[in-house]
């Protein structure tokens, strides 16, 4: 066991998988010489060389397209999108190619592909650089969408993703990189498409993932002081979406709050709430609450931006609505 940051956890996963399997290589903007905007692959270029840590032109469609092609030949590329906002510049290759080739050609094409994308707001980067559009990628069958909230999950899920035969969008939250957590030593994986209880509690179920796990945990700590015991379910993957732990928890608490960083409408909370009502209708004691981003493009001004993002106070308020 060691206490390391999310950045270190993901970096370790990539490093160990590259050591283990020569078919794994990295491509993306500034992943090599510079060592990545977020320093996740710092040192990789010197150790693994230019062939396995490939700096690309600024051409997102080419990055994802090339990764798809290389994956089709049996290699295991890890393509990095500097931020998920640039995924829109590779949208067709993500949702029309990566997500569909295996199905469309009757199973003969296999793409062991990981697309890393750094997401999230809160750093005053303005409307085009601060998005959390996770839900729209999770809308596409054929793609798997993973978004860890702890270093331990990040490492295990990254290893599982690299070893998977399916195309995976792996979303990392920029403001989680420096968050620390216990990570077991040695090689391990965390299964894709499995939600988990991150904090046990009996009164209310909070369903969340990624950065909002941190916010929800802080809220839970506050609420605990008032005697409200929150159970937190971390989705970890958005597609496939594993509702079992959510439903089990909900059948116990009969109350739920869903916390996501992205916009509320057509977001993650809508899907999770709908499924709870569908799968545990008779257990509902109070309207399920959604805590999400205000529906505006994120402004640059710090105060305005923070006022648009879900805060601990918003989660506390929502929980009190349902208990």
């Amino acid at each position: 066991m060691a206490r390391i940051t999310m950045r270190e956890a993901i970096s370790q996963a990539l490093w160990e998988e590259m050591e283990r399997d020569p078919s794994v290589f990295i491509l993306g903007e500034e992943v090599g010489v510079w060592g990545v905007t977020y320093a996740v692959t710092k040192g990789f270029y010197d150790h693994f060389g230019a062939d396995r840590v490939r700096d690309t032109p600024i051409a997102e469609s080419a990055i994802i397209g090339a990764a798809i092609g290389a994956a089709l030949t049996g290699q295991r590329p890890v393509a990095e999108l500097m931020t998920i906002n640039f995924a829109f510049s590779a949208m067709d290759h993500i949702v029309n190619e990566a997500a569909k080739l295996h199905y469309m050609f009757g199973g003969q094409m296999v793409l062991p592909l990981v697309i890393r994308a750094v997401g999230g707001g809160g750093r005053q980067l303005g409307a085009t650089h601060s998005q959390t559009p996770d839900a729209i990628f999770a809308h596409f069958p054929g793609l798997k969408v993973v978004a860890p909230g702890t270093p331990a999950d990040a490492k295990g899920l990254m290893k599982a993703s690299i070893r998977s035969q399916d195309p995976i969008l792996f979303i990392e939250h920029a403001t989680l990189y420096q968050v620390r957590g216990e990570v077991q030593d040695g090689d391990y994986t965390v299964p894709l498409g499995k939600s988990t209880i991150q904090r046990p509690g009996r009164d209310v179920t909070i369903v969340t993932y990624s950065k909002m796990l941190e916010i929800s945990t802080k809220a839970a700590d506050e609420l605990a002081k008032e005697g409200i015991e929150v159970e937190i379910v971390d989705l970890r993957s958005l597609r496939p979406l594993d509702m079992q732990p959510v439903i089990e928890s909900f059948k116990k608490t009969n109350r739920a709050v869903i916390v996501e960083e992205g916009w509320r409408s057509f977001g993650v909370g809508a899907e999770v709430a709908s499924r709870i009502y569908e799968e545990a209708f008779d257990y509902v004691d109070a309207p399920i609450q959604r805590v999400a981003q205000k529906e505006v493009p994120l402004p640059y001004n710090r105060v305005l931006e923070q006022s648009a993002l879900p805060q601990v106070a918003d989660v506390i308020k929502a929980v009190k609505e349902v208990v």
Partner: protein, 319 residues
Amino acid sequence: MEKKDYLDLYYQMVLIRLVEEEAAVLYQQGKIGGFLHLYIGQEAVSTGLVAARKPQDRVITAYRDHGVAINCGISANEVLAELLGKVTGCSKGKGGSMHMADVTKNFWGGHAIVGAHLPIAAGLALGDQYAKNDGVTICMFGDGATNIGYFHEALNLSKVWKLPVLWVVENNQYGMGTAVDRASAVSEMRQKAEGYGMINARVDGMDVLAVKQAAAEALDYIRSGNGPYFLEAMTYRFRGHSMGDPERYRKQDEVKKWQENDPIGIYRSHLMTEGIATDAELDVLDDKAAEETRLAVQFAESSPEPAPEALWENVYVEN
């Protein structure tokens, strides 16, 4: 080239032609759905290209893919079965006309988003370069596809990384109803390669031997580690863009002029004037192709539909 090789090229082109003419009929009968883009008139391009490839060379193209599918070794049976959406089709009936492939024959499809397969082709070549294989990826696309961003990103990347890829633009002079000059800043596609400092050439796409020759030279150049090569094949589609194209955008005599320039007719007379084959020998091949096509239609029509469960198969490798 031995006689049988010459005859094989002829046979392939005739087979493609007959299979597609049958496909047109089946489409009219409502047995084929969706879009059907016929390759008729352009057969010499894919036939010449594939004739020049080695087994380790990968081929990838756009949605106008029946011809190259057959050149790559997919049977007329599997092609027509796919068009009819049958489980015996090369893509199990899930792909249809625009999505044919057989990766065991190194044919990687059949892609329906214009230009989107170019970055993927760069990736196939990257895979071979990374694995230190000496395979080359042959990527075919249309003149219209040269105007989309995917083309630019793929060509630039292939040059920067010296990827083993042969870019082949089939300049049939129209992208749907839009003539080249109405959509492209330059009329000669090869000029676009200059913007990437990429070696390029132009070939008569109606002359199968010329295409084979040009492709062979290009493939040697690439296989020797010189990086990508850009080849422009001048050709023309004799039919509409897809079934049901009103063809308001071109004159009938322009079409006629080109149809007299039929790649199969040209090659047939070449074989005869060069004394490589006799009229009779070629008629035999015509009949053989007709018979293969007839049986393929039977095969396709009598093949079963996919099972209902097939809907849920192949969404993921690991569920």
